[in-house]
């Protein structure tokens, strides 16, 4: 399998993206402020790197930033130390990626949830509105009261994107459906406040909601607990969270950050990496709703049929899900 090094250096001059060998390959990943154990977005990325390590035995260098200035610093450091691919997790890193990628045109960069228009940057975005749409449909189908809830983390465009897709999905099934929306907070603490998440869920339940979707990182554990305690349903987010409360979590809006991270690193190693924008939706299996043994009983065959029909229609373009527009 291995080629002598001189062969590879021969190829290097000829090919745009030559394959890289294990001994030389040094990928790097930079998590954002949430930290890689946030049980959500960053952790999903961490799972992707773990899978890569496990399969190839190659170390992935990691760094968790604690302030804005460290993003550029860490990226520069990794680039200087010979990383071939640097994966930046989270939209906050977009400006740092732009600055550093310009300085190191020979290093590859990937940004998750953000867009940087440079040839050596791969911008990976997800169609969260599509998975949210399906979850909204599932919520409306499962709801007996016609009232469903949404608990967001921090009030930012990304989370509004979730909220809008969810509401649209619920209204698609039941135009009279009422959708309650609450954001947990306005600081980064909103991603890690299960107590407040639980309170918001309880208040929505009090107003009649019987299915609640969270897009709020670790705050969601409080949301899901409150729904379970009240005998209502919840919907998980990012990772497949069905297992957390079997029989109470209706489904999860899955976002395969792990797959995206794994793929961009693996592609680099294999020499198949390309810059540019990648949008992962239902069609690409980058997002979806989860169905497993933990929620099998909650999703009736009739519901599943409707959800699958909608999924097929969205993929085919027959059903258009509105994108959240940032002003």
């Amino acid at each position: 399998m291995k080629l002598p090094r001189f062969v590879s250096s021969l190829f290097a001059s000829a090919l745009v993206s030559p394959a890289i060998f294990a001994a030389d390959f040094s990928p790097a990943i930079i998590y954002d402020m949430g930290g890689k154990f946030d049980k959500s977005f960053n952790q999903s990325a961490s799972d992707g790197t773990a899978r890569f390590k496990k399969e190839t035995g190659i170390e992935v260098r990691e760094f968790e930033v604690t302030n804005a200035a460290q993003r550029e610093q860490a990226m520069t450091r990794f680039a200087q130390r010979g990383a071939q691919i640097i994966v930046a997790i989270g939209f906050s890193q977009a400006s740092a990626v732009e600055a550093v990628a310009k300085k190191f045109p020979n290093v590859k960069f990937a940004i998750i949830d953000g867009t940087v228009n440079l040839p050596n940057v791969q911008s990976i975005n997800f169609r969260e509105e599509q998975s949210s749409f399906l979850c909204g449909m599932a919520a409306a189908l499962a709801s007996k009261t016609g009232k469903v809830g949404f608990v967001g983390g921090m009030d930012i465009p990304l989370i509004r994107k979730f909220a809008q897709g969810y509401a649209d999905g619920a209204k698609f099934v039941n135009p009279q459906a009422e959708v309650f929306q609450n954001m947990t907070g306005t600081t980064a603490a909103a991603w890690n406040d299960p107590t407040k998440g639980g309170e918001l869920a309880k208040s929505q339940i009090g107003r009649g909601a019987d299915v609640i979707f969270h897009a709020s990182g670790n705050t969601g554990s409080g949301v899901m607990q409150a729904a379970k305690d009240a005998g209502k349903l919840s919907i998980g987010c990012d990772a497949n969270q069905n297992y957390i409360h079997p029989g109470s979590v209706l489904t999860s809006a899955v976002k395969r950050v792990d797959v995206a991270v794994y793929k961009t690193i693996m592609d680099t190693k294999n020499g198949t990496w390309k810059g540019g924008s990648i949008v992962l939706g239902l069609a690409e299996d980058g997002i979806g709703y989860s169905l497993d043994e933990f929620n099998r009983k909650l999703i009736t065959p009739a519901m599943e049929a409707k959800l699958n029909q909608a999924k097929a229609d969205i993929i085919s373009g027959k059903l258009k899900v509105a994108e959240y527009k940032v002003q």
Binding site: E62, N67, D155, I156, T186
Partner: protein, 366 residues
């Protein structure tokens, strides 16, 4: 007796903090050891990361700049007997002031026009954010600690609203404004050095550091060399004596808080105009709270604040280096070290005072 023991001035200001710092590092070393890394190697990495390279020094001083501004803010309020927990929010709103000027004038006015206006706007916005808690304390007796904490939250909510709905650069996810025009960017240290022919590694260190030094000097003059500073200290030390002397404590409280907020507002110069070149969410990043520790350790004196700000800057930069090169030591470890430094220099300040005083007494009697 119960009164704190007296130490020679040099020991009080130099030796005692050093001993406290050493104790904190020693304990941190123990934690590093438990994690299975060599404490000595970790310490060397920390030190060389902070001071070993030009880039490291640049980052250290860049962080220190934030801490100087907030540390001075906390100290000025402290001299009036006030515990201003709200520097975080004041820095946040102050940065908004500077940032708005930068967005507005950054590409239509020359630098030497933009800078002073941005400084004034940052100070004014920061001061304005301190005004309401100050007024509530001075006139209504509402406790400043409570009100300033609440104003931190209000600042965060306001800034999120503005960044998500108003200031956001169209068509992007991240709640941050567009980039400032070139005339609103403070020159970086390596650019300034390059102009006089010195090569310095690139880092975010910028002109704001010099402004922070200037602010320190001004605070010193104001607090210790003017009648206003005299009145400020009388109010802080003994409000009854202030009333007796014809100084109005409530007026001084409001003025001190305005100055405190204005100084905290300076953080925006470093963080936004100096480094990020845009307004972004949560840019103070806790520097307002670190400022409390910096002021505490620096005995609320500008020179002490400079020293402890550099120390905390070194911990931030050296800690990043540590996390970078020692994968077992993650960023939380840096927070642990910072916490230990605060614990030993603040809460446990008197632990080493008594033995030290005994030592000096024994020496004095020989």
């Amino acid at each position: 007796m119960s009164a704190p023991q007296k130490l020679p001035r040099w020991a009080e200001l130099g030796l005692l903090p050093l001993i406290n710092l050493a104790a904190a590092l020693l304990l941190s070393g123990l934690v590093v050891k438990i994690l299975g890394e060599s404490p000595w190697a970790a310490f060397k990495l920390l030190a060389s990361g902070a001071f070993g390279t030009q880039e490291g020094i640049g980052y250290t001083l860049y962080y220190a700049t934030n801490f100087i501004f907030t540390g001075l803010g906390v100290a000025v309020a402290y001299h009036a007997g006030l515990f201003n927990i709200g520097c975080e929010g004041q820095a946040y709103i102050g940065g908004l002031g500077s940032g708005l000027i930068a967005l507005w004038l950054g590409d239509r006015a020359p630098f030497f026009v933009v800078l002073p206006i941005a400084i004034v706007a940052g100070a004014a916005f920061g001061a304005a954010w301190a005004l309401i808690p100050a007024w509530l304390q001075a006139r209504r007796g509402s406790h400043i600690v409570i009100t300033t904490i609440m104003f931190n939250f209000i600042a965060a909510s306001l800034m999120t609203y503005l960044l998500v709905n108003v200031l956001i650069k169209p068509g992007q996810q991240s709640p941050e404004s567009r980039e400032f025009g070139p005339q609103a960017m403070l020159p970086a240290a390596h650019e300034l050095f390059a102009k006089i022919g010195i090569t310095f590694s690139p880092s975010p260190l910028n002109l704001a550091f010099a402004i922070a030094l200037l602010a320190s000097a001004l605070v010193w003059v104001l607090v210790w060399r003017t009648r206003w500073g005299y009145a400020l200290r009388v109010v802080g030390q003994n409000p009854s004596a202030a009333v007796y002397a014809g100084i109005s404590p409530s007026r001084i409280i409001i003025q001190a808080m305005l100055l405190s907020g204005a100084l905290a507002g300076g953080l925006g110069l470093n963080e936004l105009l100096g480094s990020q070149h845009r307004i972004l969410i949560d840019f103070p990043g806790g520097a307002g709270f670190v400022g409390i520790a910096v002021a505490l350790m620096g005995r609320n004196h500008p020179i002490g604040i400079l020293v402890s700000a550099v120390l905390f800057g070194a911990l931030a930069q050296g800690g990043a280096q540590l996390a970078f090169d020692m994968p077992k030591i993650n960023r939380d470890m840096v927070v642990v070290i910072q916490g230990l430094v605060i614990l030993f220099c603040g809460a446990l300040e008197n632990v080493f005072r008594a033995p030290l005083a005994l030592l000096f007494r024994a020496k004095g009697e020989k």
